[in-house]
Structures are given as structure tokens and as C-alpha cells.
Subunit: 196 residues, 2 copies
Amino acid sequence: MKKAEATRLTILEKAFELIYVKGYQTTSIDDIIATTKVTKGAFYYHFKNKDEMGLSIINDLLKPTLADSFIGPLQTGADPLTAIYDLMYNLLMENEFLKVEHGCPAANLTHEMTSWNADFNKALNELTQQWIDAMIDLIERGKTDGVIRKDVNARQATMFVMSGYWGIRNFGKLERSKEVYLSYLNELKKYLETLR
Amino acid sequence: MKKAEATRLTILEKAFELIYVKGYQTTSIDDIIATTKVTKGAFYYHFKNKDEMGLSIINDLLKPTLADSFIGPLQTGADPLTAIYDLMYNLLMENEFLKVEHGCPAANLTHEMTSWNADFNKALNELTQQWIDAMIDLIERGKTDGVIRKDVNARQATMFVMSGYWGIRNFGKLERSKEVYLSYLNELKKYLETLR
DNA sequence: CCAAAAACATACTACTTAGTATGTTTTTGG
DNA sequence: CCAAAAACATACTAAGTAGTATGTTTTTGG
């Protein structure tokens, strides 16, 4: 029961790469088994259907990644507002996995799936909520530590920052250049300073 | 040459409604001709293929709507920052055509099409750019009128606001409630005040 | 009114899709 | 080592897809 787990994982990883680039609907099972060199029998041994695989991508691949790259940097003990800016800078400018022309994987899936698949909606909502909660906690900590104004509404500010992140990812897709990221980051820095 | 224009328009309108709800890829020509009660012959008389129809939706339907609902309210002569907030409030909370669970049509199309169709990318980029330019102009006007600080970078602030709009539309899809819109709007108001 | 072009209708094709049926090979525990 | 289960392979199906071929009807200008 070791090799089997490996093939399951390569299916998930390759499928995710295809979906990140092409979209969920337009990535066919045949595409996936062609790039993974896994046969259809193997695919359907591991997943009962395409949607189960899609949900596994969210739960088994994206959730751990979120914890590492999106939430971890918010729990370092550094200055909260600096931590938020640095995280965004890192995600937008330096993360070599996330490509400007393909946007944010979670946002892509939200756009594509959420309207008509309740399971995807739930999984993506949980994913996002974890990130939101981590940032709210961080801002609250900043308030008690006295480095963020007491009258700042943590949830409100968090939603504002994250909306900006998702939105600028969308602009990046349109313009295919990190130029727009820099605009966003500059203004984000100014906005964050107003919370002190 | 009048009835023909009418059927062309109903195809575009009904197709757009379906695409707004279901997405472009998952809306089939058969879906469209079923809901429009127009036959396949008529459809392909008016459009050489599906993508040409999609581009016509952007150019013949969305662009005029953008001018009316997104750009017009920015050119009323009112206080720039108030105009921006009011526009966002109206779009998010009161516009009865845009549904929280289906997000922003332009953002949806951007997410779905932009990666692999250069024509859609171009059309959507033009669409967005018009909105951006209108808001930049407005902020610049505010600067010369003395109601916005001179050191505000108009483009930067515009990108920041619009990113937030697109992002919060995405959150709305996830949570299917305008609750998140209110959070965004409250914080947007605070942010805009810092530009005075 | 009437031909010609415009506007639409119907039946079809070639292809792709998710998923299944039915195998064979590989691994595993006793 | 060897049966039984796990893991994979191959060939197929049924339903959907965009698009076409070939009609018929309707509109329009002279």
C-alpha cells in the first residue's frame, strides 16, 4: 500500500497542474491520464469520478499548501502589518509556483465550480475561511499588542485585504504582467499604515 | 433587416444570461437555441461560431452596460470619493441584474477565457481598461479640485479599489450572501477617507 | 408582383466526453 | 509459496459537443 498512494498522488498533482492552467471543465480525464501515463482503469480505481478527484485536489493538495504558504507566514510573531504585507509580496512577486497568467488556483476554482457544485463550494469555503481566520487572529493580536488601532474592525480589514488579493490576481491574468501587482502592493502598504 | 437584428440580440441576451449563471464552457449551443427557441440554422446564420458569439456578448452587450452602470456614475460631477463609494455600493447592493451568487460577469469571463483565448483577453482587457481610465480621471480631477491629496497615486488607488471589487465578488460567490459586501464597503469607505 | 437574397429550419456528422465492463498483473498476509 | 485482494490495463458505450449540408420560408427592392 505504498506504490498505490504514489500513483494517487501523481494523478492529483498532474491533474492540478492541468486544471490550474486550463481550468477544471476543460481538463478532461483523458488529458489527465495522458500526462500522468496512468490508465483509465487506474484512475477510476483511485477516484469514483472526476468530481471526487477535484475535491481531493482541494482537500489533499491545496489545504496543506495553504497552511504552509498562506497561513504559516502569518504566525511568525513578527509585526502583524509587516507580516501581512510581506506575505502578499511573497505570494504575488516571489512564489514560483503561482503564475501571473494563471491567477490564484482557489479563486479559479471558486469562479468555475461554486455556482453549480455545492461540494466544491463547501470545500473552497473551508479553505478560504482558514486563511481569513488566521489573518483576523493576527490583526486582533496586533490590537492587543498596541501596534494596530483598537477601532480597527479585524474581520472587515481582513476581507478588504483578501478581496484585493483575489482581485489583483484577476487583473494579472488579464494583463499578464506583474506590473499590476506592484501597484496593488504599494497601495496596500499605504492602507496598512493607516491601521497603525 | 429589423427582425433579423432582433433575433441576433435575443440570442446574445439569452446566451449571456446562461453564461453568467453556468459559465461559458458549460453553456452549449444546444442550451442557447433551446432557451431562445431559435434553431441552429438561425444561430449559425448570425454567428460563424461560438467564440464569435462570445466576443459579441462582450462588445455588443457588456461594453454599453459598462458605460451606463459603471462609468456614467463616475462622471456626474459629484465629489469623487463619494462617487466611487456610491458606485460600489450601488453595484454590490442594489443592482438587480448582478447576483451575488454569480459574481461579476466580466470577472467570470476573465477567469474562464483569458488563459487560452487571446481574442477574449483583448476584448475583456479593453472593457476593463475603460473602467480603470474613468476612475483614474475622476481621482485626478479630485486632486486638481483639492478634495484628494496631491500625493495620491491615481492609478495605484484605482487598481486597489477595483481589485477589491473583483475580489469581494468572488467572496460573494463563495458565501452566497451580501454580508461580505457590507464588510468590504465599510472598509472601502474608511480607505477612501484616507485619500482626502 | 416577383425574383433574388436574406433569414431561418432540419437532419446529419465527426469528435470528445465521463464513465463502465471485463479483463490481467502485482502486491500482500498467512 | 500461494490464494485473495489490491492495483492496474484495455476496449468499449452512451451521451453530449460544435459545426455543416442542404433544405424551406420570409423579406426586400425594383
